[in-house]
Amino acid sequence: MEVSSKYAVQMHGITKTFGTFCALDHVDLDVKRGTIHSLLGENGAGKSTLMNVLYGLYQADEGEIYLNGEKVNIANPNVAIAHGIGMVHQHFMLVDNFTVTQNIILGNETTSHLGVLNMKQAHKNVQDLVQKYGLEVDPDAKVEDISVGMQQRVEILKALYRGADLLILDEPTAVLTPQETEDLIEIMHSLVADGKTIIIITHKLREIKESSDTCTIIRRGKYVDTVKVADEKEEDLASKMVGRAVKLVVEKTPAKPGKTVFAIDHLQVKDDRGLPAVRDLSLSVHAGEIVGIAGIDGNGQKELVEAITNLTKTESGTIQINGAEVQNTSPRNVVNHKISTIHEDRQKRGLVMDFTVAENSVLEKYRVAPYSKHGMLNRREIQKFAKGLIRDYDVRPEDCANHLARGLSGGNQQKIIIGREVENEPDLLIAMQPTRGLDVGAIEYVHKALIRERDRGRAILLISLELDEIMSISDTIDVLYKGRIVDSFKQGEVDEKTIGLLMAGGKQNGKDS
Amino acid sequence: MKKMKKLLAVVLAGTMAVSMGACGSTGSASSAAGGSASSGAAGASAGGKGYKVRMVTDTGGVNDQSFNQSSWEGLKNLKKDTGADVNYVESKQESDYATNLDKAADENANLIWGIGFAMAKSIGSAAKENPDINYAIVDNSYDKATMPSNVTGVMFRAQEPSFIVGYIAGKTTKTGKVGFVGGIRSNIIDQFEYGYKAGVAYAAKEMNKKITVDAQYAESFSDSSKGKAIANSMFSSGCDIVFHAAGGVGVGVIAAAKDAGKYAIGVDRDQAYLAPKNVLTSALKLVYSAVEDVSKKAMKGEKIGGKTFTYGLKENAVGIPTEHKLMGDATYQAAMKVENDIKSGKIVPPATKAEFDKFGK
């Protein structure tokens, strides 16, 4: 494309390799001034790398960058800031016990001649910015006391305070609630109205539709297309992103529930602070059925899973698998009773990030033949198993058996966990937030895998904060509120609104629970 | 700070030589000129140049404020006087003794010093391996029968200055109770304890008073906090003077005296610098003069192997400092009289429990 001053940013032929791995292969990006431009791609497609090149965190091996039609060399973030580029990272870089104002001016303090901090002036400048863009935030609150959404606003303010005309937002909605997401989109629009330009990195199609004018899609480090968002359907964007036709709606046949595999009866569990978190909870899961637990975060989901997996002791009640009680035993006993768990926190509970993929693949069965014998690991068998898992569960890159788990993308890490847990041949598979932080392609994969395992006759307990997910793949939907199952429905019996109401503590007509 | 202390030691050595010289000693310390007056012995030609003396410290290291440091001062004096080639090797652990002695031997040393009785065994076996090298050890005497012919023992009659300070303590105490803090019990420390006790008893007899001595051991030569604790309990139980023969432990003893406003008596060197108002006097044991003396003998080609040299008042290698403002002139003069009596043999201070028991009778 021609270089022109119409464009706030033009990146042409950007190539970046890490060792032998080519992260970006001649990628182009042209962002018109005064627009919201989204950058779409799966995890690991190279979106963040491209933006890091623009922000000066990485140096491109090849390619040119033009800002407002002029060629620039962005050697480091300071140069980028000087050129009016601001970046809000996925992980905020704020000092927790500083106030909002202190954080905003940090590194760019207003001082008098003698180097004395002029807080009054700084305070006023911040206040002006807040009002100009409707970024409602208390300038004197400490960062540790404000919500994640507010913290994000502080990051945006920080960039604006440094005079940014071009804002890069890296996965800004990953940490936000739906309401906060809507607010953010509004703020983005007001910024653009003021002449700013925004690049938003995301893989959430709905948000792109709601926010952006233009969208550039990259896949595995290669430029795919740049489209006008208004002209495209979500399905089309998804297909371009993953490189094949994607069904956003999960296809499944009706469940054929068998005998009751798993039952919880009048379970009581306390949380870390000793307060009741799970109260008198009862549920059951049949073979060949997915039971979804819908609920807002903090209503006992965490404690329920910890009680089942025996990381926490229960107060009273029973947890039975195939008729055997497993409460208050040990995590290993639970695994031995054929309960496998996909934990919501991949990096904390699911994987040993500094183990290789192969080592991670046998985390629960390294002690049994053929993976070990006489106390010594059988590395050949472990490799064989890992390679099979990588192949069967489509983990990328294909030769990652001896890579550290840390080096893989979130989706691929999740595939390893799912593969590992499913290969345990469990009678009950617990999936807690199995698609958290994954992109469209990976989410589709996870959902299909859960349904496939259901059809193989496994009992599946799905715990998710995403109501869409619960609604689309559960056969039975239990609503969790304040540690209780307040109601239970068969799929298709109920709409999203009713469940949303129950999740928030409302009551369904005629039913009292 | 360290430099200050060293300077102090040198000054002290000077004053000692003058004061002791006045007492008319004909001891071996007067052989200061001996090194240069070449006697024609092979090792000592050309004023000692080319004569190699090596010293292996014990685990205290060369700056231990005690006999390692004092010995090294002696060798440095030797170098100044005669031009001998001197150097030291520091031991960090007991297992270093053998290898360090071996290293010294590898440098073709003519004379190798080991400092402290802890090295006795290592010196013995090193001497057997290298029959051509002279070895000397401070604070150890070997059994006559098994002593290798190329090893020299250097001992001090520490009971002599201990007797004098004990006498001073006895004369000075107001409470009739004095203390003694030892390091780890051994023959060497026994000399201090029984010499001191005998001195106290001698003063008590002279004044016809009853004076008791409270003797305790710290089981350490380095744990100054333990020294402080022991001394504190002694002071609070009525002692007003405590003498220590316990190396680094004594630093705590002196600190306790300073805190309690009581007296302590130093050891080995004049320890008044630690607490000028509380260190009554010190039982000097001038290792450096003995080390220098024996080294010079060896340089002159004297046959020193197989012998044990014992240094005392007569040789000007032990004594007390001349500074005596805390005890007053009368007591000091009385102490000087006792010193002369020891020199003349009128008083023979006991060095062991057995001798002490006999002494009391």
Partner: protein
């Protein structure tokens, strides 16, 4: 340039650069103090390599610190910082000394008995720390420091007790000669032995003038054992999982607490083994009054650090450290520079190893620059 960057990325390169920097700083300090650095380093190297017996002494010096380094490195792999190696060593030495003195069996029974008693005492000492951590969550660094001092005073108490104190010494009675683990302890001083050795100068020096013993062979075996345990056994798999991510390990059914205790038991045993090999293998075969820590454990910390916690690396880092400790004395003995110089050098090397995180980054920079140049 790319090649340079590649080499720089290897951990061994960083370590070597750190060592070179250590020497460089020592040279500057020496020169500033008025000593000739090349003469000093000459003395150092001739103090290590010029005679077979010197090399033997270096190996003897390296033995205990290699073993304590293994203790530290092993615990580190399980996420524990075993600063208590010093205390475990001391208590191991006490136990080995006492058992070796009180018992007097034929060597075939006596040697394993004495060595194992040191190992057991060290293991107990480490195990207590592990237990306190697992059971009550008390940080191992705190308890380790306390237990170092407790061991220190126990050792001094034993040395001064009437039962074990050798009169007119600062030490306990040595172990019985049947406990000796030197090479041919009896033969080498016998007439027959002396006759044979007469013809072999180097052999005679090494055998007679140094306490050449089996300790380093044991240390190498221990390093291989630790490596096998960590990387080839199911137990090691568990231990590393606990070390790298306790939460995931716990979730997968691995008992974190049990493994913490096991780790500290093994780490303590390794430090105790170090003490056993010193007591049985080198003169004076006994413990003596400690006025300060002898640093057998603390030096192990530095060695493990230089080795990057690699069990096999500990062997080489141990030899390097042993060489500096032993050869360093020659600097003092030959050119008169104070022995503190060698401590500065060791300290600098450890410091630069700590800084080596910088070197791979430097490599990345170099790479970047290389690409820039290529692009131009």
């Amino acid at each position: 340039m790319e090649k340079t960057a590649k080499i720089l990325k290897k951990p061994i390169t960083s370590t070597i650069i750190a060592i070179v920097c250590g020497f460089a700083v020592a040279a500057i300090v020496l020169a500033a103090a008025g000593y000739n650095p090349s003469a000093a380093f000459g003395a150092l190297f001739s103090g290590i390599f010029s005679k077979p017996k010197y090399i033997s002494n270096v190996i003897i010096k390296a033995t205990p610190i290699t073993l304590t380094a293994l203790s530290v490195a092993f615990a580190y792999k399980v996420g524990l910082f075993n600063i208590g190696a010093e205390g475990q060593y001391i208590i191991g030495a006490v136990a080995a000394n006492l058992v070796g003195y009180l018992c007097n069996f034929p060597p075939i029974i006596q040697i394993p008995l004495v060595v194992l008693s040191g190992v057991a005492a060290g293991a107990l000492w480490g195990g207590i720390i592990g237990f306190l951590k697992a059971k009550f969550g008390i940080h191992e660094v705190l308890t380790s420091i306390m237990f170092n001092w407790i061991a220190f005073y126990i050792s001094n108490w034993v040395v001064s007790s009437a039962r074990f104190h050798e009169p007119n010494s600062t030490a306990a009675y040595p172990v019985n000669p049947s406990s000796y683990t030197m090479l041919l302890p009896n033969w080498k001083t016998s007439d027959a032995g002396l006759a044979v050795l007469k013809g072999h100068k180097a052999l005679r020096e090494v055998l007679l003038k140094t306490d050449v013993n089996f300790g380093f062979v044991i240390a190498i075996a221990a390093a291989v054992f630790v490596w096998m345990l960590l990387y080839r056994s199911t137990k090691g798999y568990e231990l590393r999982a606990v070390g790298l991510n306790r939460d995931a390990a716990e979730f997968a059914g691995i008992s974190v607490n049990k493994n913490i205790i096991i780790t500290m038991l093994i780490a303590g045993a390794l430090s105790g083994l170090a003490a056993s090999m010193v007591i049985t293998g080198t003169d004076p075969h006994r413990i003596s009054t400690l006025s300060a820590f002898e640093n057998n454990g603390f030096n192990g910390l530095s060695v493990a650090f230089i080795a990057g916690s690699s069990p096999i690396g500990c062997i080489f880092a141990g030899l390097l450290f042993g060489g500096l400790l032993y050869g360093g004395q020659s600097i003092q003995a030959n050119i008169g520079a104070p022995s503190e110089i060698i401590n500065i050098m060791i300290g600098t090397i450890v410091f630069f190893v700590a800084l080596t995180a910088v070197i791979p980054k430097l490599a990345v920079r170099l790479e970047k620059r290389g690409m820039h140049n290529a692009a131009k």
